[in-house]
Amino acid sequence: MRELSAPQGDLMLDAVDRKIIAKMQGEFPISERPYAEVATQLGIPETELLQRLEHLLANKVLTRFGPMFQVERMGGAFVLAALAAPEERYEELTALVNALPQVAHNYRREHALNMWFVLATETQEGIAEAIAHLERDTGLPVYAFPKEREFFVEMKLEARL
């Protein structure tokens, strides 16, 4: 089964969209007219960059655009966790897990542990509280996989369509 999350609307990305997607995964400037700066580098008008970004976000080609926070660096915690969700309860459990604001993202994966999500909380204790809350709501054990060491993180992918 491959139930992929297809983006909404038309999926046709042109060369300019692809350039924008690559460029916008880099360091966005902190300046008075940051979009104008990036647009100049891309060789397009600022208004076109803004319109295309709006379109890419509305069509869910981009899921978000803005600062990426490392909550650990402000005293909080970020923990990968997983559930073995029985197939007949999958939808109900997805709703329960996603309802928690502490769940930053959630993926269905092919394994006995078939729901993998990331908890991001402002305090260290927030993780245990969120897990206790989920275990109570779901009646299932939640496996927590806190990172013990980070070797590399850089999620930059070029559009291949």
Partner: protein, 162 residues
């Protein structure tokens, strides 16, 4: 490492931008206006948070399916404890690995202590990349698996309360 201090104003900036940066010509001025700060102050604080790592970067997050990376595999490895750090650093250095972490095992259900994300246009492409990781790990690796994602159930990022 001790966490850098963020104050109430920094926190209000996080709350104001965690959903995204405004798509207007002067986004930092727009945030400043909303919070009753000066644009200079907003920019200075954002730069300081970038510097301290509270902000990893300012940028876009693509939906990898939508841009052609339809196969996304979480490769997981059971690596000897005395070698996992050295090998993890080498796996993390592979150009196709986007995230690489050491995490605790959850025995008996979960024997894996090294996680590396790989992406491809097909599962075959991911499997080839996993093969390269396998070769690099050599005899230090006892068992492995690839967990492909089949659906994004949620992808909002951090949400702290106002």
């Amino acid at each position: 490492m001790t966490a850098p201090k963020i104050d109430e104003i920094d926190r209000s900036l996080i709350v104001a931008t965690q959903g995204g940066l405004p798509l207007v010509a002067r986004p930092y001025n727009a945030i400043a206006e909303q919070l009753g700060l000066s644009a200079e102050d907003v920019m200075r604080r954002l730069k300081a948070m970038l510097e301290s790592g509270v902000i990893r970067r300012i940028g876009a997050v693509p939906n990898h399916y939508a841009i052609g990376w339809t196969a996304n595999g979480m490769t997981v490895w059971d690596v000897a404890d005395d070698q996992v750090d050295e090998l993890g650093a080498r796996i993390g250095a592979l150009d196709f690995v986007t995230h690489c972490y050491r995490r605790p095992r959850a025995l008996p259900a979960w024997p894996y202590n090294l996680f590396a994300m790989v992406h491809g246009a097909s599962r075959e492409e991911c499997a080839t990349k996993a093969g390269e990781i396998r070769a690099l790990l050599g005899p230090a690796c006892q068992a492995s698996d690839i967990l492909y994602s089949t659906k994004i159930l949620k992808k909002t990022g951090l949400r702290i309360g106002a």
